[in-house]
C-alpha cells in the first residue's frame, strides 16, 4: 500500500509545484496579492508530499518490499540496513526523487529566510523554482517512477551494485545534489531580477549566501566522489577526467566564478550582466550534468541504464530552461549596464581575471567532455579525450589563477594602489618560495618542475591568506565571518594545490606479479607479499592478501587488500588496502592469481594525496562560514516603494 501512497504523493506534489509556479509568476504580473500570498502554502505542501513520497520509498527499501521494482532491482535481503537506505539514490529513479526533495528543501529554506525581501520578488523566485520542480516531477512520473510494482513480486532482490556499498558513496550523491540544486536558487534569483528588470546591490547581497552555501556542498560532493573513486574503485588516483567527474566540476568552476563576481556586484554594483550570465550558466551546467549522467549518453562507471525516452525528455527540459533563461537574458540584460570605473590593479580587476580564467577552465573542460558526443553525433568516428588533453589545457588558466589569488586578495576596491599592500604580498611570496625550494630539495629530490611551482603557489596562497586575519586580530579589529570564511577557503585551495602538485609529480606506481615472500621496491619502501587467505563479510566472500610494507628493514604497515565476490551480483570486486600517513598513502590492490603461486598486485606510494581532500573540506568549511555571515541576514525590511498594486502594474507595463 505504501508505494501507492508514495505515487499519489508525487502526483499531489506535482500539482502543488504547478500551483507554486503559476501563482508565483502570474501573481505579480496580474497584481493579485492573494496569488502572491498563496505561494508559500504551495511550497510547504509540495515539501510535505515530496517528503512523504521519499519516506514511502525508504520504507519499501527498509521493509524489503520486493514487489516494488526499484527495491527488487537495487536491494537484497542480505543488504545491511544502512545501504538499504542509501539504495534510495543508488539508481536512477530514486536519485531523481532525491533531486526533487532537495529542490523542495532549498525552496522551503528560501521561503523562510526571505521574509524581509519584497514579496513580489520572492514570489517570482519561488515561481521559477516551482517551474523547475514541475519539470523534474513530470520527468519522474512519466519516465522514471520509483514506485512501479512487479507482478508477481520477486522472491529476493538483485542487490545494490557492490561498488555503491560504501560509506563515502552513500553520502556523496546527497551532498552533490544539495550543491547542484542549490545553484537553482541563484538561477531563480537571476531570472526574477531579469523579469523585474531591476538589479541592484541588494540583489547581489541576497543571492550571495545561497550561492556560497550551494558551492560549499558542491565542493564536498565532488571531494567525496573523488575520494570514493580513489579507495573503492581502486583506480589509485584522485581525478580521472571521467565525463561524469567533469559534469560536476564544470558547474563548480562556474559557481566559483559566480561567488567572486557576486562580491563585486554586492560591493561595487559592477559586473551585473556578467553575474546574471554566470548564475544562468552555473545552474544550466548542473542540469547538463544531470542529463549527461542520467541519459546514458556517457561511457562511464556512473551511467546506469540507457533509456532514449529519458534522454529526449531531459534534453527538451534542458532546452526549455536554458533557452528560456538566455532569451530573458538577451532581452533584459542590456538594460542593466553599470558605469562605475575601476583601475587595472584594483580588486575588481583581479576578480575579473579570476572570472575569466575560471570560465576558460570550464570551457576547455566543456570542449573535451562534449567533443566525443558531438563527433559521434556527426558521424565523425568515436573519439575519446583523456588526461593528455585535460591536464595541460586545465593548467593553462589555473596556474595564473593561483598566482593571482594572493595579489588580488590584498588589492583594494576601486583604486589600484598596490604599494600599500606590497609588503605582505612580497614577504609571503619570498617565504613561500624559500619553503617550496626547501621542501622540494629536502623531501622530493626529483620530480618535474611542476612540483616546486605548485608547492610555491600553494604555500603562497596559504601564507597570504593568513595575513589579513592575523593583522586584524592583532589590531583588535573584528573579523567578519565573510572575511574569515574567504581566508579559510583560500587556505583550503592552497592545501589542495600542494597536494595535487606533489601527488601528480612524486607518486610511485608499480604493477608486479609476486610469489609469497617476494618483495617489490617502490622508492624507499619495499612491499612484501605474504600470501592469501579466505575472508568473509556480511554479504560477500573474499580472498584476502597480506602485504607487509617495510622501510629500511622496519615494518611500516601491514596491508590486507581483498578480492570480493558478492553473493548476489557474483562480480569480482577489488577492495584496495590503504595505509594513510599524514604525508603519504601506501596503497595495494589485488589483481589475480597468475599461476605458480604468484599474484599480480598493484602497488603505489602517493605522497600528500590526502591534502587534496583535506583541502577541499577546508574550502567547504570556509564556504559555510562565509555563507552564514550575519551581514547577509541583517536584511533591513525593504519597503515596497509604492502601494503594491500600482507598483506591479507599472512593472508589468515596462516589461
Amino acid at each position: 500500500m505504501t508505494p501507492e501512497i508514495g505515487h499519489y504523493a508525487l502526483v499531489l506534489a506535482l500539482l502543488l509545484a504547478a500551483a507554486q509556479a503559476l501563482f508565483g509568476l502570474l501573481g505579480p504580473v496580474l497584481a493579485q496579492q492573494r496569488y502572491v500570498q498563496a505561494v508559500p502554502f504551495a511550497v510547504a505542501g509540495q515539501f510535505v508530499f515530496t517528503a512523504l513520497a521519499m519516506a514511502c520509498l525508504v520504507n519499501a527499501l527498509v521493509q524489503m518490499d520486493f514487489s516494488v521494482r526499484y527495491v527488487a532491482e537495487n536491494a537484497n535481503s542480505a543488504l545491511p540496513l544502512f545501504y538499504r537506505v542509501a539504495a534510495v539514490w543508488g539508481a536512477h529513479e530514486g536519485s531523481l526523487l532525491l533531486w526533487i526533495l532537495v529542490l523542495s528543501v532549498w525552496t522551503v529554506a528560501v521561503t523562510l529566510r526571505s521574509r524581509a525581501l519584497p514579496q513580489r520578488f520572492i514570489a517570482r523566485v519561488l515561481g521559477i523554482m516551482g517551474l523547475l520542480s514541475v519539470g523534474f516531477l513530470l520527468f519522474t512520473l512519466a519516465t522514471s517512477n520509483p514506485f512501479l510494482r512487479l507482478d508477481p513480486a520477486a522472491p529476493d532482490g538483485r542487490d545494490l551494485n557492490p561498488v555503491l556499498q560504501d560509506f563515502a558513496l552513500a553520502i556523496h550523491p546527497p551532498m552533490l545534489y544539495i550543491g547542484y540544486v542549490g545553484l537553482s536558487v541563484a538561477f531563480a534569483f537571476a531570472c526574477a531580477a531579469m523579469i523585474e528588470g531591476q538589479l541592484d546591490q541588494a540583489w547581489a547581497r541576497w543571492t550571495r549566501p545561497w550561492t556560497t552555501l550551494a558551492w560549499a556542498f558542491l565542493t564536498a560532493g565532488i571531494a567525496l566522489g573523488s575520494w570514493w573513486a580513489y579507495y573503492e574503485l581502486g583506480w589509485g588516483g584522485f581525478w580521472f577526467w571521467d565525463p561524469v567527474e567533469n559534469a560536476s566540476f564544470m558547474p563548480w568552476l562556474v559557481a566559483t566564478a559566480l561567488i567572486h563576481s557576486l562580491a563585486v556586484t554586492d560591493k561595487r554594483g559592477l559586473f551585473k550582466s556578467w553575474t546574471l550570465l554566470l548564475a544562468i550558466s552555473g545552474f544550466s551546467l548542473s542540469l547538463l550534468g544531470t542529463f549527461l549522467v542520467r541519459s546514458g549518453v556517457l561511457v562511464s562507471v556512473h551511467s546506469f541504464a540507457a533509456d532514449p525516452a529519458r534522454g529526449v525528455f531531459i534534453l527538451a527540459f534542458l532546452v526549455i530552461v536554458i533557452g528560456g533563461a538566455l532569451t530573458l537574458y538577451a532581452w533584459r540584460a542590456p538594460g542593466l549596464r553599470s558605469s562605475a570605473g575601476f583601475e587595472l590593479t584594483s580588486r575588481e580587476s583581479f576578480l575579473l581575471f579570476n572570472n575569466i580564467l575560471l570560465v576558460i577552465a570550464a570551457a576547455v573542460i566543456f570542449g573535451g567532455t562534449m567533443a566525443p558526443m558531438v563527433s559521434d553525433a556527426l558521424g565523425q568516428g568515436a573519439l575519446s579525450v583523456g588526461p593528455q588533453y585535460f591536464n595541460p589545457t586545465f593548467l593553462l588558466p589555473t596556474l595564473p589563477l593561483l598566482a593571482l589569488v594572493s595579489v588580488g586578495m590584498h588589492a583594494s576596491w576601486k583604486r589600484g594602489n598596490l604599494s600599500r599592500t606590497q609588503r605582505p604580498v612580497l614577504a609571503t611570496l619570498a617565504l613561500a618560495v624559500a619553503l617550496a625550494l626547501a621542501v622540494w630539495m629536502g623531501a622530493y629530490g626529483t620530480g618535474s618542475l611542476m612540483l616546486p611551482v605548485g608547492l610555491g603557489l600553494g604555500l603562497w596562497i596559504i601564507l597570504s591568506s593568513l595575513v589579513d586575519p592575523i593583522d586584524r586580530l592583532r589590531r583588535g579589529l573584528s573579523l567578519s565571518a565573510g572575511v574569515l570564511g574567504m581566508s579559510i577557503a583560500h587556505i583550503g585551495l592552497g592545501l589542495l594545490t600542494l597536494g595535487i602538485a606533489v601527488v601528480q609529480t612524486a607518486s610511485i606506481e608499480r604493477d608486479s606479479a609476486l610469489v609469497v615472500g617476494q618483495s617489490a621496491q617502490l622508492g624507499a619502501y619495499s612491499f612484501r607479499f605474504d600470501g592469501v587467505e579466505p575472508a568473509e563479510g556480511a554479504n560477500f566472500n573474499a580472498t584476502q592478501a597480506k602485504v607487509t610494507v617495510q622501510r629500511d628493514g622496519v615494518d611500516v604497515a601491514v596491508l590486507q587488500p581483498q578480492k570480493r565476490t558478492y553473493w548476489v551480483q557474483r562480480n569480482a570486486m577489488t577492495e584496495a588496502a590503504i595505509k594513510t600517513q599524514w604525508n603519504q598513502d601506501l596503497f595495494v590492490a589485488m589483481g589475480e592469481d597468475v599461476g605458480k603461486g604468484a599474484w599480480s598486485l598493484r602497488m603505489q606510494v602517493r605522497p600528500l594525496i590526502q591534502f587534496v581532500w583535506f583541502g577541499a573540506i577546508i574550502m567547504m568549511l570556509g564556504g559555510i562560514i562565509a555563507g552564514l555571515d550575519r551581514r547577509y541576514r541583517q536584511l533591513k525590511p525593504v519597503a515596497e516603494q509604492e502601494p503594491n498594486t500600482v507598483d506591479v502594474a507599472a512593472g508589468a507595463r515596462t516589461a
Binding site: Y389, A513, N571, G595
Partner: protein, 145 residues
C-alpha cells in the same frame, strides 16, 4: 581618457589571453584525441603508423594466454570478422574475461600486435561499451559465443 585607454588595454589583454588559450587548447585537443577502431578497421590499415588509439571488441574465447607467474598477458580482441592480438603488462580489471567486451588503449607494434597500456572492462556485466556494440552490429556475423 586615461581610464578609457586603461580599459582598452584590459580588454585587448583579455582578448589576447582568451585567443591564446583557445589556440593552445585546440592544439592540445588535436594532438591528444584518441580514436576508436575495431579489429576490421585495424586489419584494413585505417590506423596511422605509431598512432595511439583505442581498440575495442570482444575478448576471444580461449585466447587468453599467460606465462605462469608472470604479469604479462596476451589475448585476442575480435569483432567476429578479424582479430588483433594484444599484449598487456599490468593488472587486468575485475570484469575482464573471455567472451566479454573490452576497450584497450595503446599502439600497434612492428610485429602486428597491439601493446596496451590501459585495459577497460565495465562494472556492469550486462554492459557493453556502445562503440563495441555498434561495431559488432555492423559485423552481424555473431557466431562464437
Amino acid at each position: 581618457m586615461i581610464a578609457r585607454r586603461r580599459r582598452l588595454v584590459l580588454v585587448l589583454g583579455i582578448i589576447a589571453g582568451v585567443a591564446a588559450a583557445g589556440g593552445l587548447a585546440l592544439q592540445a585537443f588535436r594532438s591528444n584525441v584518441t580514436f576508436f577502431f575495431d579489429p576490421t578497421q585495424v586489419a584494413a590499415g585505417e590506423v596511422k603508423q605509431g598512432q595511439r588509439f583505442r581498440l575495442g571488441g570482444m575478448v576471444k574465447e580461449g585466447s587468453l594466454v599467460r606465462q605462469a607467474g608472470e604479469l604479462e598477458v596476451r589475448f585476442a580482441v575480435t569483432d567476429f570478422k578479424r582479430e588483433v592480438p594484444v599484449v598487456y603488462r599490468n593488472v587486468l580489471p575485475d570484469l575482464f574475461r573471455e567472451g566479454a567486451g573490452v576497450v584497450a588503449h595503446g599502439r600497434m607494434q612492428a610485429d602486428g600486435s597491439f601493446l596496451a597500456d590501459e585495459v577497460l572492462a565495465k562494472h556492469d556485466e550486462k554492459y557493453m561499451p556502445p562503440e563495441v556494440a555498434r561495431s559488432l552490429k555492423k559485423g552481424e556475423t555473431r557466431s562464437g559465443i
